[in-house]
Amino acid sequence: MTDDLDWLEAQSIYILREAYSRIKPLAMLWSLGKDSNVMIWLAKKAFLGRVPFPVAHLDTGLEFPETYAFRDRFAKEWGLELIKDTCPPIEATDPTLPHNSRIAARKTLGLKEAIAKYDWKGVIAGIRRDEQATRAKERYFSPRGDDGAWDFRDQPPELWDHFASDLPSGVHMRIHPLLHWTEIDIWRYIQRENIPVVPLYFADKNAKRFRSLGEIGITFPIDSPAKNIEEIIAELEVTREPERAGRAMDHDSEDAFERLRVAGYM
C-alpha cells in the first residue's frame, strides 16, 4: 500500500467481493456519473477485468446527449451487460413531493420495477458519505424493505468489516462500495487510473461545467474554468461549495432529499 488511494481501492474491492460472494442475484447501478464510473472500474479490478453482474442505467429519457453517447460507447468497451429500462413517468411519483424531487423520484420507481422484474437481492450503488448529510448515515450494506424504504433509525451494526448479508424475504440489500471516498478522492483516482468520464464535467467555452451530473432540467452547471482533471482537483482543494449545489432536488425544501432517500432513492 503506497498511498491513501490504494487503501480506498482495497476497501472497495473487499466490499464488492463480499457482495458478489454472498448476495445473488446482484446488479450495479450506473448513473453514468464520475462516481459510478469509478465503481465499474473498481469492479473490473475486483473481478480481474470483468463485471460479473448486470449494470443498470435507470433511464428517465432526460440525460444529456453527451451522457447517452458515453453510455453506449463504454457499455461496449467495458463489456458490460447493460440494462437500460425506462423509468415510470412523473405522474406515477408521490404528488406531495416538490416538483424537482418528483423528477428524481422517477428513478426510485424505476429501481423498484427493476428489482421486481429481475429479482435482484442486491443492488450496488455509488453513493458517498461526504456528498450529503443523509448519505453520511449509510452503511456499506444497507437492508431495504420490500418498498425500498430505509429505516435509518434501526440500522444493523457494522464492525471490523463484517456486514449484514442474510436477508429475510422481501428485503434487498443496497451495497455502497464508495461510501468512504470523498469527491476529491474520486477525481484523484480518476486521474491516476485514467478513467473516462462524460466531458460535461470539464469547463466549456463559457467557463461552465457540471460538478454533479444528473438529468436535464434538474441539474445545473457551475461557473468554473476547470478544463481538465488537474484543474478540477485544484479547484476542489479550495472550494467550500457543496458538491450537490447544482442539484435542484436537494434544495426544494429542507427535508426533500431525506424524504427521497427514506422512500428508496439512492
Binding site: 500500500m1 498511498d3 482495497a10 473490473k44 479490478k45 464492525l159 471490523w160 445545473f220 482543494e237
Partner: protein
C-alpha cells in the same frame, strides 16, 4: 438555484493544499449524553475552517425559523428526525483538515439506546476523543464508551474536559476531574494522551489557546489530535489472509481475499486452515495495472487475487497462513464479548460466530463472568443484557481457525450473528481444540447442555482419579457417588479395572494398549458427562501424557484428582493381592513395582488417603465436585 460561484477561501486554500494527499485520519468522539460531543464537532469544523460556504448561515436561519437559539450541534443533526428528537441517531462522518492532515470524524451518539452505532463508528477509528463534562465528571456512558474503545482496539485517547467555562476555568476542579478520568482509563488499559480543558461552545483550547486557562500548559485539542499516529498496517506480523471467494475465470482458478496481516509473495508456501491443505503462490493477479508491471508481493491491507501451483481444495472461510506460523484451530473459544442485541444472550443459545470470512455455528457453553464497566468488578450472570460486557465460552462442532486477540488482533476478533444481524462483537482470549475425527459429521443433539444442566441443577463433568493401585481411588469414588446420589445428583463411577472386563478386554499392557485403554475410558466418560452426569473415573493412569490425552478428549469438564498414598501403604493394603503377585514376578510392568507412576504436578485436588480417613477424603471429593459442576462455571 441555477448557477453558483466557487468561493476561494485563502486560509482554507493554504491548509488544504498541504494535506490533501494522504488518507483521512479517522477519529471517533465519544462520551456521555449531553456532555457536548456534537457541539464539539460543530466547533472543530468551524475553527478549522472546514464548513461548506453558507452552511453556518443556513443552520442559523433554520434555528431562527424554529424559534431556537443556534446550537453548534445542529451542524450534525442534519436529519429532520434528529432535530425533532434532539439526539444524534447515527454515525455521521464529517471531514475536516488541520495544517497537518485530513480528518474524518465519526460522531458517536451518547444515548444508551444507540450503542451499536457507536460501536460501528468506533470500530473504524484510529483514535478517539473522550468528552467529559467538567462539572459532572465521569458518567456511566463515559465509562461504557471508554471500555468499548478498549475492546475495539483503541489504546490512546485525547480527553476533552468540556464546559470548562461552566466551572469558571478553575484549575483545581479541572485537575480533580482529569485525575479521575486518567485513573479510570489506566485501569482499563487506555492511555490518556492528553487531558485538555475545553469549552466547545466558546472555542476554548480547541484550535486556539484560551486566555482563561493560562494555568494549562498542555496541547490544544487539535494539537493533541495531530500528535496521534495512525494505526499501522501489520505488515511485519505473520501472514493471515481469510479467503473471501474462489473465481474460475477461463482456465484460471483464483483465490481472493484481503491480507489482514503480513505479506504474500509469489513463491510463498501457504497453508489453508482448518483443513490444512498447502500449496505455493504461483501468481498475483491484477487488472488495470499493466503500466506498473506484474505484482510479486502484496502487503497487509491489500485486497489480493492469486493462483496456486496446484489445485488444492480451498473455500471461502479458509484462513491462509505460512505453514510455519499458523493460527489456532479451535472448537472452544473463551472470549470477551459486548452484546448489542435487544434479546439477551443466555447459556445454550446458538448463534453464528464470524471471524475473518469463516462462519461457524456455536453454542454458548457458559457465561463465565459479567463485567461491570462502572466499577470494573465482575460477577456471575445467567444472561447478558443489551449493551452488556461479559466473558463467555463458545463451543463449535467444527474447528475454526482463530488467533488470540492479544497477538493477532485482526484474526482474533469477530462478531456473533443472530438472525440476519450482528448481535455482538468479541475478542478471543483463549482457544482450544477437542479432536473430532475428520470427515465424521457430528449430529446435533436435540437437547442442549444448558437445558440438561437446568433440569439436573448441575453440569456434567469428569473427575479423573489417578493414583497407585491400592491408593483408594475406587473406594473414595464410590463413597462420594453415594453422597451425591443422595442429594439427587446424576452421578456415575467408571472403574478402570471393571472396564477391562468389557469395552477394553481386548487390550493388554503395552504402551499402545495402555494409551488406547485411557482413550476409550475418556471417550466413554465424555459421553456420560455430555449426557449431564458427574462421572468419577477411577484408573491408575500412571503416565502424565495419557492423562493429558484424557483431558484433551474431555475438555473443560475434566478435573484431575490425585489420590495419594505412599507405595508402602498401598502395598500393605493390597486389596486384590496384586502387589504380592508383582513382587513374585507374576505380573510384568506393574505400576509402582516394575513400571513408573508419574504423580500429577498440578492436580485440581489431592486426596491423601494414607493420612486421612475415608469420611474426610470422600467429603472433600463431594465438596470439590459440587463446587466444580454446580453454580457458574469458572474457566
Amino acid at each position: 438555484m441555477s448557477v453558483v460561484d466557487i468561493a476561494v477561501h485563502p486560509k482554507a486554500a493554504e491548509q488544504r493544499a498541504n494535506v490533501i494527499k494522504g488518507r483521512a485520519f479517522p477519529i471517533v468522539i465519544v462520551g456521555h449524553v449531553d456532555h457536548g460531543k456534537s457541539t464539539l464537532v460543530g466547533r472543530l469544523l468551524h475553527d478549522t475552517d472546514s464548513l461548506p460556504e453558507g452552511k453556518l448561515e443556513q443552520l442559523k436561519a433554520v434555528s431562527e425559523k424554529r424559534g431556537l437559539e443556534f446550537e453548534w450541534s445542529f451542524l450534525l443533526d442534519a436529519l429532520q428526525v434528529e432535530r425533532d428528537q434532539g439526539i444524534t441517531v447515527d454515525t455521521t462522518q464529517i471531514w475536516f483538515a488541520t495544517p497537518r492532515r485530513r480528518y474524518v470524524i465519526i460522531d458517536a451518539p451518547g444515548h444508551k439506546e444507540f450503542l451499536k452505532n457507536m460501536v460501528t463508528g468506533a470500530a473504524q477509528a484510529d483514535a478517539a476523543i473522550l468528552v467529559v463534562d467538567a462539572a459532572q465528571g465521569l458518567a456511566e456512558q463515559t465509562k461504557r464508551h471508554a471500555y468499548l474503545l478498549h475492546l475495539l482496539g483503541i489504546r490512546k485517547v485525547a480527553v476533552a474536559v468540556n464546559k470548562i467555562d461552566l466551572i469558571g476555568h478553575d484549575e483545581q476542579k479541572f485537575n480533580a476531574v482529569a485525575e479521575a478520568v486518567r485513573g479510570y482509563l489506566a485501569d482499563i488499559g487506555i492511555e490518556a494522551a492528553a487531558l485538555v480543558p475545553v469549552s466547545a461552545r466558546q472555542g476554548d483550547n480547541i484550535v486556539d489557546r484560551s486566555k482563561d486557562t493560562s494555568w494549562y500548559q498542555g496541547p490544544t485539542l487539535i494539537g493533541a489530535l495531530d500528535a496521534f499516529t495512525p494505526r499501522a498496517q501489520p505488515v511485519d506480523q505473520p501472514l493471515r489472509l481469510p479467503v473471501q471467494d474462489l473465481y474460475r475465470f477461463e482456465d484460471k482458478r483464483i483465490v481472493v481475499g484481503r491480507i489482514e496481516s503480513g505479506r504474500l509473495k509469489v513463491g510463498d508456501r501457504v497453508r489453508f486452515a482448518p483443513l490444512g491443505r498447502e500449496a505455493t503462490v504461483a501468481t498475483l493477479e491484477t487488472w488495470g495495472t499493466a503500466d506498473r508491471g506484474p505484482r510479486e508481493e502484496a502487503f497487509a491491507g491489500e485486497s489480493v487475487a492469486f493462483t496456486l501451483d496446484e489445485e488444492v481444495f480451498v473455500e471461502r472461510g479458509a484462513l491462509a497462513s505460512s505453514p510455519d506460523n499458523r493460527p489456532k484451530e479451535a472448537t472452544r473459544i473463551a472470549a470477551r464479548l459486548f452484546w448489542l442485541d435487544r434479546e439477551v444472550l443466555k447459556p445454550g443459545d446458538r448463534l453464528t460466530l464470524k471471524i475473518g470470512t469463516a462462519e461457524r455455528e456455536v453454542e454458548v457453553e457458559a457465561i463465565t463472568e459479567s463485567l461491570d464497566v462502572e466499577n470494573l468488578g465482575t460477577s456471575q450472570a445467567t444472561q447478558i443484557d443489551r449493551n452488556g460486557v461479559a466473558r463467555v465460552i463458545l463451543r463449535s462442532r467444527k474447528p475454526l481457525a482463530v488467533d488470540l486477540y492479544e497477538t493477532q488482533p485482526r484474526t482474533g476478533r469477530g462478531v456473533l450473528i443472530r438472525g440476519p444481524q450482528i448481535a455482538g462483537g468479541l475478542i478471543v482470549e483463549s482457544a482450544s481444540n477437542q479432536q473430532v475425527a475428520n470427515d465424521v459429521i457430528a449430529v446435533d443433539s436435540s437437547v442442549t447442555a444448558a437445558e440438561r444442566s437446568q433440569l439436573n441443577g448441575h453440569r456434567g463433568g469428569v473427575l479423573w482419579l489417578t493414583g497407585l493401585s491400592g491408593a483408594g481411588k475406587s473406594t473414595v469414588a464410590m463413597a462420594a457417588q453415594r453422597t451425591l446420589f443422595g442429594r439427587g445428583r446424576q452421578v456415575a463411577v467408571l472403574d478402570g479395572d471393571n472396564l477391562r472386563h468389557g469395552i477394553n478386554r481386548d487390550l493388554g499392557f503395552s504402551d499402545a494398549d495402555r494409551a488406547e485403554n485411557i482413550r476409550r475410558i475418556a471417550e466413554v466418560a465424555r459421553l456420560m458427562a455430555e449426557s449431564g452426569q458427574i462421572v468419577f473415573v477411577s484408573a491408575i493412569s500412571p503416565l502424565r501424557v495419557h492423562r493429558d490425552l484424557a483431558r484433551g478428549i474431555i475438555g473443560s469438564g475434566f478435573r484431575e484428582i490425585y489420590v495419594q498414598a505412599d507405595l508402602a501403604t498401598c502395598e500393605a493394603r493390597d486389596p486384590k493381592g496384586l502387589y504380592k503377585r508383582a513382587r513374585n514376578g507374576e505380573i510384568a510392568q506393574f505400576t509402582g513395582v516394575s513400571a513408573p507412576y508419574e504423580a500429577p504436578p498440578r492436580a485440581d485436588l489431592v486426596l491423601n488417603t494414607a493420612g486421612q480417613g475415608l469420611a474426610q477424603t470422600a467429603a472433600d471429593l463431594v465438596h470439590f465436585a459440587e463446587d466444580a459442576f454446580t453454580g457458574t462455571l469458572a474457566e
